[in-house]
């Protein structure tokens, strides 16, 4: 029975229509007591073409690079691509407070931890 479940799950996986080459962006992930910080490299993608989705503990990054070029190509080593990558985020992230900025083709995503998840030091009272 569990074998059957596995089969159905596999086939039910969402497949998007693809007309662009898909590339997985390189990322750096950092953490401190306050937040998780993610840097993703997406050269050539503008602010409006990036979507960041957090749904049920799944973080999806997606960005489309569309470059308009005229003239005859002497050589071409890169072109239009779709950057796509997914992560699972812990439930302790405060989804409403997530912020992102884009600088020099690198997306910085701040995922703050919720108050309850921050480490606390408990003071010991002298008895």
């Amino acid at each position: 029975m569990d074998g059957k479940d596995l089969t159905q799950k596999e086939q039910g996986a969402v497949e998007s229509t693809r007309n662009l080459r898909q590339v997985t962006p390189l990322v750096d992930i950092y953490e401190n007591d306050e937040e998780i910080l993610l840097h993703a490299e997406m050269p050539g993608v503008t602010k409006d073409d990036i979507t960041v989705n957090i749904d049920n503990g799944n973080l999806t990054l997606s960005g489309v690079r569309s470059m308009t070029q005229d003239g005859a190509a002497e050589w071409e080593e890169f072109g239009d691509v779709q950057y796509q990558r997914a992560f699972s985020v812990p439930q302790t992230i405060d989804v409403n407070e997530v912020s992102a900025e884009l600088k020099d083709g690198v997306l910085a995503l701040h995922l703050p931890k919720s108050e309850a998840a921050k480490p606390k030091t408990i003071e010991i009272q002298a008895g």
């Binding site: 074998g3 596995l6 390189l26 993608v45 020099d104």
Partner: protein, 148 residues
């Protein structure tokens, strides 16, 4: 007896799973991770495109994470050299979970198809893409020849 039938059922499920994998094999095959560091010829320096626009060339390079001051462009005749330096450091007070982007210094030299007027070259950097506009030198510009 029923246990046996469910075993057979499971075997077919497993085969179906395998078939599902094979169905996706080609669509998953071309998913590449960033710069394909091990296979690609262009691994340690940025990828570039060069376009010929008649009286000028346009060179486009992928330089994510580099600011103006990290880049240096030199031009002489038809020889072009791009030098850059990127430092990726763990921000103060953070612990690193994953670091795929690395620090790097690179130099890439290119030979353009013809001489360019180095005085008129302009460069812009936006969203990690460097665009160099390289006007061709007078001798290399296309000329219209009228037929008598």
């Amino acid at each position: 007896m029923f246990a046996r039938i469910s075993d057979i059922d499971r075997m077919f499920d497993a085969m179906g799973l395998l078939r599902g994998r094979f169905d996706n094999i080609f669509s998953e095959f071309d998913r590449t991770l960033g710069y394909e560091p091990k296979w690609s010829v262009v691994s340690n320096y940025p990828r570039t495109n060069l376009y010929d626009k008649g009286d000028q060339f346009e060179l486009v390079a992928e330089v994510p994470g580099l600011a103006n001051e990290d880049l240096d462009v030199k031009i002489q005749g038809n020889y072009l050299e791009i030098t850059g330096k990127r430092e990726v450091k763990t921000p103060e007070g953070y612990r690193a979970h994953r670091s795929e982007r690395g620090s790097a210094t690179f130099t890439r030299s290119l030979t353009l198809p013809s001489d360019v007027d180095s005085a008129k070259v302009s460069a812009t950097l936006k969203d990690g893409i460097l665009v160099l506009t390289l006007p061709k030198s007078e001798a290399a510009k296309p000329r219209q020849i009228s037929i008598n």
